[in-house]
């Protein structure tokens, strides 16, 4: 890869001046004349029949415009509410407002429209909601066998299950010289984007146009969903979003609340705003993780992996917004290692809890399980965990490589990434230091995690393609309109870098437009680490098309051959003779105005819309090393954190660092702080940031990040990098704690779990 003038450089983010100065434009900043405010009456219980729902008193409160229940909104609904790509998944369609019964705590039951949010919340308190409370299903372990059904009409609490089992492999694993079995869990997490969900909707009944301002990962999906739900022709639905304050998967599909608000705007004929508050987001905005995996691994005398068995159980909640991740867990479990085979069974179950939404590496438990059991096996064998990895790791020379579950990797070099991480970290020196400090009574441990990350997933769905529309204006300025949209990925910067280099213009001469359905090509948005790869590929190709045309026109203007021309800073010149040049504006003038100057066969205009499709998954690969100290109080201090990432060619290293750092922080949260809890009756216990703890700047270590570059085959050689940080961090932190304790940490931990005198900390939990 040749570094460009902009691509490969840490170009400062053009989003930052407005974001860091508090001038971002979020949903809550949208004001529409005549707009009213919505608030929801929500279920306080996990499972109940609605015995009475009386909104009369709320309707009478001055300032209240309307109070809607399911009965009011259902007549407006003509199609399913779920996300387009999961319409055929075995999950129930969400309901906008509960009808007849409630199935998770926080489920919206009624919607108040009022002159202010304050009044709307006052009115919510006047809605009489009586329940016949019933015992909920809260435990995923027993959900499948429970006689209580989350969705009685489905006849079972099982969402889906899959199994691939080879009896000979089972015998081989069970008969291996070393057989290691562990069960790992990860706590339920919330995505906690800084900006929660929200929507402003305005229905103009006179011109039949529906306008929606949203905060989402994919504006075109918002339009598709609302077209399907309301029957309003899609071309009459206009969706706009500006800045999005994070999503992490939680904003991939519209929430039932958002759909209810749009329906309410249609019914009431006024513009309506609803912005979810933090309490609502934590309780009902979408949850993640909350799964369990039992692993048995068989190894030979040299540490070669004979095979592994997985039993994965996933808590889907009541209304998951995606199908099960079990298949991907199984396919990615072998990670960066050779294994003789993998047997698996996976199952996802419904519970009366907040539904599962994809979260930054939704399948991450495969890495957690594999990397933790590698350490457990190494301890059992008396082998250094790094040495065990070295003996099994695959390398570039193995490519293409089909892993033991059947997933075929290309263009990665995990052996080199592992080696580079150990070199940067200086593993031998650390081991010496560690043994010294342990002698002094300190509990210090190191954890390694090595993984392969499938990026730009989604072939065969809306996520399989992406388009860019590159336009050169009469003045020679460039606009790139993208189908994908940013929820914090710096797309306005990185895509401008690509287009500027392709067209040979200054980056200041390129603007990127996203997040508006009317003026951008259809696109899948950001998710699954796809925008760099597929959006970048589309931008690359579209700008390349325009460049070709620019050269042809310029060649005609200068009476030169196109292949003798080069572009630089907005001028097209004869290579080696910069005095012979034309500006991009002159080319544009010929293309749009003085079209008789165009060469024969060249159409007027200077723009291209190109749709790009990746042929397959693009694989990235990384290694994390974490060092922790467990203090006498049981608190964990992260002393060092090293990441080596191979995400192919980097468009903007600073942005890559940001993606990795953010992911690592969320992984640290999952390992040490975050845990959404319910009590046995289904009451949520961690409903504010006082109890649902996310890592803050005081808990986060300096993260040392460096890179290898195994380019992908697509345009530019880019790979996705959005999710890996969050995938790699949980096992790295847990392995480090396990090393410090000499015992396996098999779940998220609190200080009280690691206090000196507790059983786990005192000895082996095996």
């Amino acid at each position: 890869m040749v570094a460009g003038r902009f691509v490969g450089q840490s170009v400062l983010r053009r989003e930052d001046p407005r974001l860091v100065s508090g001038h971002g434009r979020y949903v809550d900043d949208v004001r529409v004349p005549g707009m009213v405010h919505a608030a929801f009456v929500r279920s306080h219980v996990a499972r109940a029949r609605i015995a009475a729902l009386d909104v009369a008193a709320a309707e009478r409160l001055p300032g209240v415009r309307a109070v809607y229940t399911a009965r009011d909104l259902e007549p407006l609904i003509v199609g399913p509410l779920g996300a387009t790509m999961y319409l055929s998944a075995p999950i129930p369609s969400p309901v906008a407002l509960a009808s007849g019964d409630v199935r998770y705590p926080g489920q919206p039951v009624a919607l108040v429209l009022a002159d202010s949010r304050y009044l709307a919340e006052d009115a919510c308190e006047l809605v009489r909601l009586d329940y016949d409370v019933a015992t909920p299903v809260m435990d995923m372990e027993t959900a499948a066998e429970s006689e209580i059904l989350v969705h009685p009409e489905r006849g079972s609490n099982v969402v889906s299950q899959s199994r691939r089992w080879d009896d000979d492999l089972e015998l081989a694993i069970r008969g291996a010289p070393y057989v290691v079995t562990r069960t790992f869990r990860q706590p339920r997490q919330s995505h906690t984007p800084m900006e929660p969900h929200g929507v402003v909707a305005s229905w103009d009944r006179f011109d039949g146009e529906l306008r929606i301002w949203c905060t989402s990962q994919r504006v075109h999906e918002v339009r598709a969903t609302m077209g399907r739900v309301t029957g309003i022709p899609e071309q009459r639905i206009h969706v706009v979003q500006r800045d999005v304050g994070g999503a992490f998967g939680q904003k991939g599909a519209m929430r039932p609340e958002e759909i209810a608000v749009v329906l309410a705007a249609c019914k009431a004929g006024v513009a309506v705003k609803w912005v979810e508050d933090r309490h609502e987001n934590l309780v009902a905005g979408g949850h993640a993780r909350s799964d369990r995996i039992a692993v048995t691994m068989g190894l030979d005398h040299e540490g070669g992996i004979i095979g592994a068995e997985l039993d994965h159980l996933e808590d889907a909640g009541a209304y998951p917004s995606l199908g099960s991740v079990g298949g991907l867990v199984a396919m990615m479990f072998p990670g960066a290692y050779r294994m003789g085979g993998v047997n698996w069974s996976t199952r996802a179950v419904f519970t009366n809890s907040c539904g599962r939404a994809p979260y930054r590496g939704p399948w991450n438990i495969e890495s957690l399980a594999r990397e933790q059991i590698m350490d457990a096996a190494a301890r059992e064998m008396g082998l250094d965990p790094v040495e065990l990895r070295r003996r099994n790791v695959i390398a570039r020379t193995d490519m293409p490589f089909t892993n033991a579950s059947g997933m075929t990797y290309a263009d990665i070099d995990p052996a080199a990434v592992l080696a580079e991480t150990l070199r940067r970290f200086d593993y031998p020196e650390f081991l010496e230091e560690q043994s010294e400090q342990r002698g002094g009574g300190r509990r210090i441990g190191v954890g390694v995690s090595l993984f392969v990350e499938p990026t730009a997933l989604g072939t065969g769905t809306m996520l399989g393609t992406e388009a860019a529309h590159v336009k050169v204006s009469l003045a020679g300025k460039v606009t790139v309109a993208l189908g994908t949209s940013s929820h914090g990925q710096s797309i306005a910067t990185t895509m401008a870098q690509i287009a500027a280099d392709e067209l040979g213009v200054d980056i200041e001469d390129v603007s990127v437009v996203d997040g508006e359905t009317d003026i951008t090509p259809i696109g899948g948005g950001t998710g699954g680490s796809r925008s760099g790869v597929i959006g970048g590929g589309a931008t690359h190709r579209a700008a390349g098309h325009v460049r070709d045309k620019v050269l042809r026109v310029a060649a005609e203007l200068m009476e030169a051959a196109p292949e003798d021309l080069e572009t630089d800073r907005g001028r097209i010149q004869v290579r080696g003779t910069p005095t012979r040049s034309v500006s991009l504006a002159q080319v544009a003038h010929a293309a749009y105005v003085d079209t008789k100057l165009l060469p024969a066969g060249v159409e007027p205009g200077l723009e291209a819309l190109v749709r790009y499709s990746t042929p397959a998954i693009t694989f990235a690969n990384a290694c994390h090393i974490c060092v922790v100290e467990i203090l006498p109080s049981g608190q964990v201090e992260i002393l060092r954190y090293v990441v080596v990432e191979d995400c192919g060619a980097m468009i903007n290293p600073m942005v890559v660092h940001g993606q990795i750092s953010g992911g690592v922080v969320q992984g640290i949260g999952g390992a040490l702080y975050e845990r959404f809890c319910y009590d046995e009756d289904g009451n949520p216990l961690t409903t504010t940031f006082m109890d649902y703890l996310i890592p803050t700047s005081t808990e986060v270590p300096f993260i040392e990040i460096s890179h290898l570059n195994s380019p992908a085959r697509g345009p530019g050689g880019y790979k996705g990098v959005g999710e890996g940080g969050a995938i790699g961090a949980v096992p790295a932190v847990r392995n480090a704690i396990s090393d410090a304790l000499g015992a396996d940490v098999t779940d998220g931990v609190r200080p009280c779990d690691l206090f000196e005198s507790t059983p786990l900390a005192g000895g082996s939990s095996r």
Partner: protein, 292 residues
């Protein structure tokens, strides 16, 4: 997350505030820095018809020192107290403890009087006030009175003040030259309420401990003074307070604790960590005392 309707009263003088409190009784709540009250109101976990906002009452802010006593107005921001030279000099424990109170953004608004009056059992300032022998000045329609900090806290989030009384200032006596202090706590994250914490103030004369005050926070329904430990320590020769003796004192301090479990920690952990922290606090304050 919007509070239920309330009327906001913004008196300019203490007397006006007292009058409002007398008129509205338990329908009124005093608003100081708002760092605890506002979230409770926004979540509608608490509701009051009338809020009496003290932020315009200038006479409630300020720090003065007359050589014997440090007097801090109730509305003095925690951030101002933290950096005030007279506080660092005559009540260094207070300045040290404030670093554990939330984050600096919270301390910019949070007030000393607000924290004491809110009486959160896991907060640092109530325990610090107790070990420093602080006294709070209280004004009400029946006149002024003084309440020692160790008698101030009645229950979780409840003081002995009547609904029409206002905590106007806190008086902290200057400690003798031979003194040592410590505040230790364990929280899930920096700035969180403590899962267990301890404040300690020791002074000595002629090689003996003459005054020992240890208070635990985060482990009971109020901050808890440890009189048994004080009794054991007072009169002891400094040289006798070797590590094994301190361990015994730590055990004594925490013997009767029975904190409940919650999502952050088990009760038994809180108790065990409290003992660990008492040990550490005694070591650290003795060290400071010996240096003094």
């Amino acid at each position: 997350m919007k509070p239920a309707p309330f009327r906001l009263h913004r008196p300019d003088r203490v007397a006006e505030a007292i009058e409002l409190l007398s008129v509205y009784g338990d329908e009124a709540k005093v608003l100081a820095g708002g760092q605890s009250l506002m979230p409770l109101l926004a979540l509608r976990l608490a509701r009051f018809e009338e809020l009496v906002d003290l932020n315009r009452i200038g006479e409630l802010s300020g720090i003065s020192f007359d050589g014997e006593e440090l007097v801090i107005g109730a509305m003095t921001r925690q951030a101002d107290v933290e950096v005030a030279p007279e506080v660092r000099k005559s009540a260094p424990l207070l300045a040290r403890a404030l670093r554990y109170v939330g984050h600096f953004q919270i301390r910019n608004r949070g007030t000393v009087g607000g924290s004491l009056a809110h009486a959160d059992p896991a907060a640092e300032l109530p325990a610090v006030a107790m070990v420093l022998g602080a006294v709070v000045d209280v004004v009400g329609p029946r006149g002024a009175r003084q309440v020692p900090a160790e008698e101030l806290f009645a229950e979780r989030w409840t003081t002995v003040l009547d609904v029409d009384e206002l905590l106007v200032s806190v008086r902290i006596p200057v400690m003798p030259a031979e003194a040592g202090f410590a505040v230790e706590e364990v929280a899930r994250r920096h700035g969180d309420f403590a899962m267990a914490g301890v404040a300690c103030a020791l002074s000595s004369g002629h090689g003996r401990v003459d005054r020992a005050r240890i208070a635990l926070f985060g482990v009971g329904r109020t901050p808890l003074l440890c009189p048994l430990v004080a009794k054991e320590m007072e009169g002891s020769l400094l040289d006798e307070l070797h590590p094994a003796a301190l361990d015994e004192l730590a055990a004594l301090a925490t013997a009767d604790l029975d904190p409940p479990d919650d999502v952050h920690a088990t009760g038994s952990y809180r108790r065990a960590v409290a003992a660990h922290l008492v040990g550490r606090a005694l070591i650290n304050s003795l060290e400071e005392l010996r240096r003094a």
